[in-house]
């Protein structure tokens, strides 16, 4: 028994150590800080922070920008998630067909956005969406469609960001669905055709149910990911215009690192954690129920 334990420790040790130091301890500290008024005066000298109970959370409740950030983030989630699933599944289906040409090329080009650095992407997209010099408005102009101020109009800023994140997210989800599709035995489709089912019915009754595990995984990961939307609004719009692209994490970041309200920012983090936990639990429950 003794040797087994030391073997376990040696193999798990480094990973456990890293997890503890870089994940567990910071999370615990964050929980601790969220019930204090840790701010600029406490950075150099921790003793300046005072315990204030749930005051941060109470203030959060009456903070209109927090609610806007919450609304914006859910707006992004509700629009981006179905779009991501639809497009990923669509491309996976297209890549699964025998008749598609240049499969490797499309697989690569659809996957590339997800592994490209967000900062680089943001710089290029900022140019593409530039109202006067951008390619998008030029392209729309060819069809006589008026170009919009994509990133500086409160109406269009969030949809532009959503388009960016969906485009970026297609890659890995598409591959996941592709793997799932390739595991569906052909005879199921053949049997369905013999029974007179058309392509749409086959899709609905064979493909989708077979992809349940992938769909569950993708939807859980997307909820967790999109609720933490940060890089794209940070790089493209900094939360503007008029806070229309302010996401929860971006708000947390501004409160913490620009305004030094670390206690308040930690409270935001705790609330976000609670929301994601709740939604994930609900999703897992729903799936169990469906089985």
């Amino acid at each position: 028994m003794k040797t087994r334990l030391s073997a376990i420790l040696i193999f798990l040790g480094p990973a456990l150590f890293i997890m503890t130091v870089f994940i567990i301890i910071p999370i615990a500290l964050s929980l601790l800080i969220s019930v204090t008024d840790f701010n600029v005066y406490a950075i150099f000298d921790w003793r300046n922070a005072k315990f204030i109970g749930f005051q941060n959370f109470i203030n959060l409740f009456s903070d209109e920008i927090f609610w806007k950030a919450l609304f914006n983030t859910f707006y992004a989630l509700v629009v981006a998630m179905p779009l991501t699933i639809i497009f990923s599944l669509l491309f996976a289906l297209l890549l699964n067909r025998g008749a598609t040409y240049l499969k490797s090329f499309f697989r690569l080009s659809l996957y590339l956005p997800s592994i490209t650095n967000t900062v680089a992407i943001a710089v290029v997209w900022a140019w593409l969406l530039n109202p006067r010099y951008g390619l998008l408005n030029w392209f729309l102009g060819l069809f006589g469609i008026a170009g919009q101020n994509w990133l500086s109009d409160p109406k269009w800023a969030m949809p532009s960001i959503i388009a960016l994140v969906v485009w970026k997210a297609i890659g890995p989800n598409m591959l996941l669905f592709l793997a799932g599709l390739q595991n569906i035995p052909d005879f199921l489709y053949e049997a369905a055709e013999l029974d007179g089912a058309n392509r749409w019915k086959q899709f609905l009754h064979i493909t989708v149910p077979s992809l349940r595990p992938q769909l569950l995984f993708v939807s859980v990961m997307l909820v967790i990911g999109y609720l933490q939307l940060f890089e794209e609004p940070y790089m493209l719009t900094k939360g503007g215009p008029l806070n229309s692209t302010m996401s929860i994490v971006l708000y947390l970041y501004r409160q913490g690192f620009y305004q030094f309200n670390f206690g308040y920012a930690s409270a935001v983090a705790v609330v976000l954690f609670g929301i994601i936990l709740a939604l994930t639990a609900i999703q897992m429950r729903l799936r169990k129920y469906q089985e």
Binding site: V40, Y41, I43, F44, D45, N130, P131, R132, Y133, G134, N149, S152, D153, P154, G240, P241, L242, N243, F257, Y258, Q259, F260
Partner: protein, 396 residues
Amino acid sequence: MKKIVISFLLILLAISICGTTLKVWAMGEEAKTLPVVTQEFEKENPGVKVEVQALPWSNAFEKLLTGVAGRQLPDVIQMGTTWMPSFSAMGAFQDLGKYIEKSEIISEDKFFPGSWSTCVYKGKVYGIPWYVDTRVLFYRTDLLAEVGYTEAPKNWDELYDAAKKLAERPDMYGLTFQTNEIQEFIPFVWQNGATVIDENNKLKVDEPNFKEALDYFARFFEEDIVPKAGSGNIFQDFASGFVPMFFTGPWMVSMIHEQTPQIDGKWAVALMPEKITRTSFMGGSNWVISKTSKNKELAWKFVEFMSTPEVQLQWYQLLKALPAVKEVWNYSELKDDPFTSVFGEQLKDARATPNIAEWEKIESIVEGVLEKRVLGKITTDEAIDEMTQKISKILK
């Protein structure tokens, strides 16, 4: 083996006793050019090595924050004026009072008052100005001449009139402003004799002069004289005449020459337009010494070195950064340059934003409300109310 280790350690000891390293953190272009000047300092102080670490502006703030929190700061730091209040509040800097008293090179009257004010926090001096910047009007001389202005607009009425006439050209504008940048808005407030908070931290946004400045600024947006989406690329827009006037700082002078040489000779800079005064915004960088530094005397010597007129002039020649030391402005190189002389004149009436820890938050509120006002989402009275309500909470 033992002998080698001991002699190695002795040599190290000898080096550390004879020579000290002064660690300096600097940002952007300044960091790249600093070694040219520090070489001289090393020559004047044998045994001293100056180690400059370059931080890109994009993440310098975070790195400084981390440095303060982790007590890992260098001896000397270049500190942007707008960052001074936050970091001073953290208690990271050394109080320079007693060094200034003993110094023959540095004293308050050698520097511009606006610049010096950014170094003072709660009555104590925590920094020494290195270089300054201020904002002036950049304008297309040829396009303004076409609408009847042979000289730059001198006051609020002329600025409005010229911009409006220029905006009448089809698909063109007269001017550009950002919707939410306090550094562009607050000069107009100051020019009208108003302010956001006064020296006693009393809120002054409900005064009629503040309201007038807000109305004036918003009018440019309401009447479509400025593009609501801002300038796509200021160089292209200035060169094409899409935006024939805008306000910015000295760094743009050489950048415009480099990026759009085709308009050389067709543009110039001018002072801020006058209402009651012609006040402009003042920025720049100061030198600070960290409280945890082990080489404070040496660090102070370095700061003194950077503040001598010779080094200040050299720095101007290297980067065209405006010297913080007033007497350098009497040299003909600065006095006779058509661009630099305008900045020099503007510096006589330039202010910095209040050096208090709460300013970040106040700025954030003003900018948010300003954006809503200029985009027409709220009226001026509503804007004033919102600012009053939110800023009062911070100041109490």
